[in-house]
Amino acid sequence: MEKSLAQKVNSPVGENKLRIDAYEKVIGTAQYADDIQFGNKLLHARIKRSPYPHAKIKKIDVSKARILPGVKAVVCGEDFPGFIGLYLKDRQIFCRDRVRYVGDPIAGVAAISEEIAEKAIDLIEVEYEILEPVLDPEFGASSRAPLIHPDLGKYVVASFIFPQAGSNISNHFKIRKGNIESTWQKCKTIIERKYHIPHIQHVPLEPHVAIARVDKSGEVTLWDSSQSPFAQRDLIAEALGITQSKMRVIAPLVGGGFGSKAGVSMESLAVAIASKVKGYPVKLRLTREEEFYTAFVRQGLVAYFKMGCDENGKILAMENTFYWDGGAYTEYGVNITRAAGYSSTGPYEVPNVKADSYCVYTNHPVGGPMRGFGMPEMHAGLEQCIDELALEMGMDPVEFRQLNCLKEGSILPTGGKMHPTGLSQCLEKTAEAIDWGKKALPSAPNKRRGKGIALMWKAPAMPGNAGSSAFIELAEDGMLTLGVGCQEIGQGAFTVVAQMVAATFGVPYESVRLATPVDTRYSPYEWQTVASRITWSTGNAIIKAAQDARKQVINLIAEAWNENPDDLDIVNGNVISYKSEREIKVKDFAVKGLPKPDGRGWMGGPVIGRGSFMPTDVTGLDAETGQGEHAVVHFTTGAQAVDLEVDLDTGRVEILKAVAAFDVGKAINPDLVKAQIEGGMVQGISSALFESLMLKDGYVQNPSFVDYRIATSMDIPNSMQAIIVEVPQDDGPWGARGIGEHSMVPAIPAIANAIYDAIGIRFEGPPFTAEKIYLAMMEAGIIK
C-alpha cells in the first residue's frame, strides 16, 4: 500500500480556512439544480405512482392523458425494458408488471406546466390485482412469505453480494469465526436482546430535483442534485442502453444529501421521460411529501444480539442476527447489509463471532444509503447490550469499553488486524468531557438525570476499486484551478480539497479555484461522494496531481537555472531556490513557458497536473466465513456521551450536554470537522428523540413536516462539545480519514444508555418520544 505523500510545508492544511463556497451561499447566488434557468422550452414532469404496497399491474390506459392539451409525452414501463441498480440490478425504471411499494413509479408525464402534468397523471387509468404485502423483514425472510422478486436469481449482481434465489433475501452476509457454540459456557455473563429500529428519512432541506434533456443525436444531459454524477452516468446509461460517454451529468451544489442523493433514485425517471421529447429539457421535482417516501429512506432493522464475557469482563463471543427491512428494491441496501455484517461486533475485539446479516425485501419504501450506512441502526442496540454486560458484571461502562475496545493490532471480526486508532483516547476524552463518574443532580424534583456513553466505528463501505481522480491547471493570473469529481453537499469537501491542493502545490488557499459544477464531460472521475471517503480518497488523488504539476514546474526551473530540483520549492506561488535564493512567479511561465537560457527557442508549456487514486489492497471476504485479510481501507472510530434529564410529568427528554470525540487522523480543517461533529450529533439526537416513518400496512402515515418532526433550533442540547483526536492514518492525506457520517452513529445508544441511567428503563427501539417514556414509567411504577 502506498504511503501518504504528505508535504513538509503543511499550510493551509490544519487551518480553519473559511469555506470556499460560503460567500455565494450567503448572497443567494449559489446555484442548486432547481435554480438553473432553462428558458421557454422547459417542460415539467409528474409521476403516476402506485397506491398499493404490492400489486400486479393488469392494465395501464394513458390515452386520456396523452390528449390533454399541454401534454407532450406520456411514458410507462413497457417503454423501458432495462434494469437499474448499483450492486444488484433489481429495479425497473417504470414498473412493468408489478408494483412493490406505495409510490412505486408506473408512468410519467411531461407537460408545459406542472399543473397540466398533474392533471394528466389523474387521467391515467391503471388496473391492479392486489397482492399480499410483506410488511416485516423476519416474515419476509421466512418461507411463508410471498415472493416480491420472483426473478431474484436472474438479476445481475456484484460479486460480493449473495442473494438467495427463490426467497426475499437479496443478500446474506456471514461471519463464522472461532468456535461460538463452545464459548457460551465459558462466559460469566451473557446478554441476549432484540431491538427494532424504525425507518427514518434523510430530510435534506433541498428535495430531489432532476432535469434531463435528450438531444436528437441521442446525447443525454442530466442536471440534478446529486452526490454521484459519475455513478448516475454509469447506471442510467446502462439501464437505457446508451454508452456512458453519451450520458452527461452536470451536478451543481447540493442542498443536503446525507446519502439520499447517492446512486440513482428518481433521476432515471426524468431521463426516461425526456427521451420521448427530444430536444426539450424536462424537469422533475419531488414534493416534500414525495421526498419522505418515494426516493430513498433509511431501512428499518430487526436485530438480535447475543454476547458474553468472561469473569474479567473480556468479551468472548457475539452472535448477532440482523434482518434488514430493505424495502421494495435493495439495489443499494444489499451493501448496507454487508457493511453491518463485517462491522457487527462493534469496535471491540471479539474472538468468537457468528453474524448473519440478511437484506430482506419488503413492500416498504426503498431503503438506501443514509449517514452511517447501517452503523447507526446496528450500534443502537449493540451499544446498549455492551452497557448491560458491563452493568451485569458490576463494571463501569467506560472501564468495560476500555478493556474491550479495539487497539492497534487487535484482531478484527473479519480476521485482519486493526490499524493504529485513537478509539481509547476518544473514549477517555469523551468520558472526561461529560464528567463521567460524577452523578449530577437533577435540576428539579420532577426530573431524573442520567449520563450515557457509546462507541462507534465505521469504514467506507465501497467496492475495493472505488477510484478518485483530479487535475490541476494554472492560469496567467496565478490562480490554480483544481478539477475534481467530488461533490459539495455541505460537508465542506470543496474547501478541504482546495486546502490540500494549495498545501501540496505551494499556493495560498485564496489562489485556488475549483472547476465546478461537476460535469462528467469535463470533470475527472469520482466514484461517489459517499462513505466519508472524499478527504481520504480524493485527497490522495489531489496530492498526486499537485505533485505531478509541482514536478513539471520545478524540473523546468531547475533546468532553466541549472540547479538541482531538490534545492527548489514552490511557496506562495513562487518558485524559490534555497541555494541561490532566486525567485520566479509560477504564473509568469505556467501557461506560456520560458525562453531558453540561450535565447534560442522556448521551454516548458502549459502546466497540467494529473492524479489518480484507487485503493489496491482491499481483499474480498470469504462467502462462508466473512474472513479476509484486508476487509476495508480503514475505520474511523469515536465516542459520544450525553447528560440528559427526563421530565416525570411529560416523559420528555432534554439533552443538557452532548459531547463527542472522533479520531479523524488529521483534521485538514478543524473547524469543519467540528461542524460535522455538531451537525451529526444533532441529526443523531433528532433521530433518537423524534423521528420515525410511521408505516402501517405499507403506508407512511406521516409524510410531511407536520408529523415527521426533526430537531429545531429549540431542541438542541444546552451545550455541545466536539473533540478531535488525531492518530494518523498511514495512507491518508497528512494522515486524514473521514468524519462526515460518523458523528451521527452513536447518538441513539448514548441517549438510551443515559435514559437507563436516569430511570432504569430500556426500550425496544427509538424514537424515545415523551409518550413512549412516560407510559413506560407508568408501567414501571416510577410515576402513578
Binding site: 406505495v102 399543473e115 398533474e118 407536520v706 408529523d707 430537531a711 409518550e771 407510559l775
Partner: protein, 298 residues
C-alpha cells in the same frame, strides 16, 4: 390512504371585494365553491392537500375594521380579524390586560407564520388543536359577524360544532373578536405539549384562567379549557364548578386535574395516543392550575 399533495396551490380565482356587504353577498351566492381567507395558513395547506377545492378565494383582510386593535379602558379589547398574531403579542395593551392572549399566540408555529396567522382564522378553522381558542373562551370573547342579514354578535360557547365545523352560515364573515374587561387581578396561563419544544401542533393544550370571585363558595373562579382532547375545544365545566365550590388547595387542584382528565375524550392519532393524552391532561392541568394559583396568591 395516500396523500396526493399538489406540488403547488391548485387553480382558483382571487377575489378582493370592497365592502362587507359585497363580501357577504359573494360568499352567499358562491357558498359551495368559495372561501374567505385571512392569512391562509390553514386554508392553503388544505387546498394543497386536496381536501378542499374552492373556485374563489375571497381576501377579506382589507375590509373596514379588520385591521384594528383597540383597547378601551371602559369597554375592553377589540381585535380585528386581520390582525396577525405577532401584532397581538406585541401590543402593550394585550400584554398588560390580556396576557393570556399573548401567551396563547406565542405558542403557535413560528415567527414567520405568526405574521400571517390570525386569532379569527384560528377560531374559524375550528381545529380542536387551535391554540388561541381556549384563551378566547376564557376571556369571554364575542365574535362580530357580518352576514347577508347584516351584523350580529356570537359567543364562543356554541360556536364549535365539530372538527373544522362552526356555526357560521353561508355569507358569514367574522370581522372581529371583542373581549370585555377581564376580571380584576386575574392570573392565567396556556400550557402546550408538543413533540418538539416549540412550533408543533398540540398533543394536549391547557388554558387556565383564575380570579378572585367573592360570589363563589371557594372565593375563586377558574376557567379550564382543553385543546386536542375532544372534537371541539373542551370547556371542563365540571372542573370549573369543582374549584368554585371547594376550598382551593394542592389536593383539590389535583382533583380538578383528574376531573379534567376524565372529562376529556381524546383519540389515538399520529401525534399521540388517547391514553397518553389523558395522562397529560391531568399533569398539565395540575401544573397550570398551580401556576395560576400561585400568581393569585402573590
Amino acid at each position: 390512504m395516500v396523500k396526493n399533495t399538489h406540488p403547488t396551490l391548485p387553480e382558483f380565482d382571487y377575489v378582493k371585494p370592497v365592502t362587507l356587504f359585497e363580501t357577504s353577498q359573494f360568499l352567499f351566492t358562491h357558498s359551495n365553491d368559495s372561501s374567505p381567507f385571512l392569512g391562509g395558513t390553514d386554508l392553503f395547506i388544505r387546498m394543497r392537500d386536496g381536501v378542499i377545492k374552492p373556485h374563489y378565494l375571497v381576501d377579506i383582510k382589507h375590509l373596514a375594521g379588520m385591521d384594528k386593535l383597540d383597547f378601551d379602558p371602559q369597554k375592553g379589547l377589540t381585535i380585528g380579524a386581520a390582525v396577525n398574531m405577532n401584532r397581538v403579542i406585541n401590543s402593550p395593551d394585550v400584554q398588560e390586560h390580556y396576557p393570556l392572549l399573548a401567551d396563547a399566540c406565542k405558542s403557535v408555529a413560528s415567527y414567520q407564520l405568526r405574521n400571517r396567522a390570525t386569532i379569527i382564522g384560528n377560531i374559524c378553522n375550528a381545529s380542536p388543536a387551535g391554540d388561541t381558542i381556549g384563551a378566547c373562551i376564557a376571556l369571554d370573547g364575542v365574535l362580530h359577524i357580518h352576514g347577508i342579514a347584516g351584523s350580529r354578535f356570537e359567543s364562543l360557547s356554541d360556536f364549535f360544532l365539530g372538527p373544522g365545523k362552526t356555526n357560521l352560515k353561508p355569507g358569514d364573515i367574522v370581522t372581529a373578536i371583542s373581549f370585555p374587561l377581564p376580571p380584576q387581578g386575574h392570573a392565567s396561563t396556556y400550557v402546550k405539549l408538543g413533540r418538539n419544544k416549540l412550533s408543533d401542533l398540540s398533543i394536549v393544550g391547557v388554558t387556565v384562567l383564575g380570579n378572585i370571585d367573592t360570589k363563589k363558595q371557594s372565593g375563586f373562579r377558574f376557567r379550564v379549557i382543553l385543546a386536542s382532547v375532544a372534537p371541539v375545544p373542551l370547556i371542563v365545566t365540571q372542573a370549573e364548578t369543582y374549584l368554585s365550590s371547594h376550598e382551593v388547595n394542592q389536593e383539590t387542584i389535583h382533583q380538578a386535574a383528574c376531573i379534567a382528565s376524565e372529562a376529556s375524550h381524546p383519540i389515538n392519532d399520529v401525534r399521540g395516543s388517547a391514553r397518553y393524552r389523558r395522562e397529560m391532561v391531568r399533569n398539565l392541568t395540575e401544573n397550570a392550575l398551580i401556576k395560576v394559583w400561585k400568581k393569585l396568591n402573590q
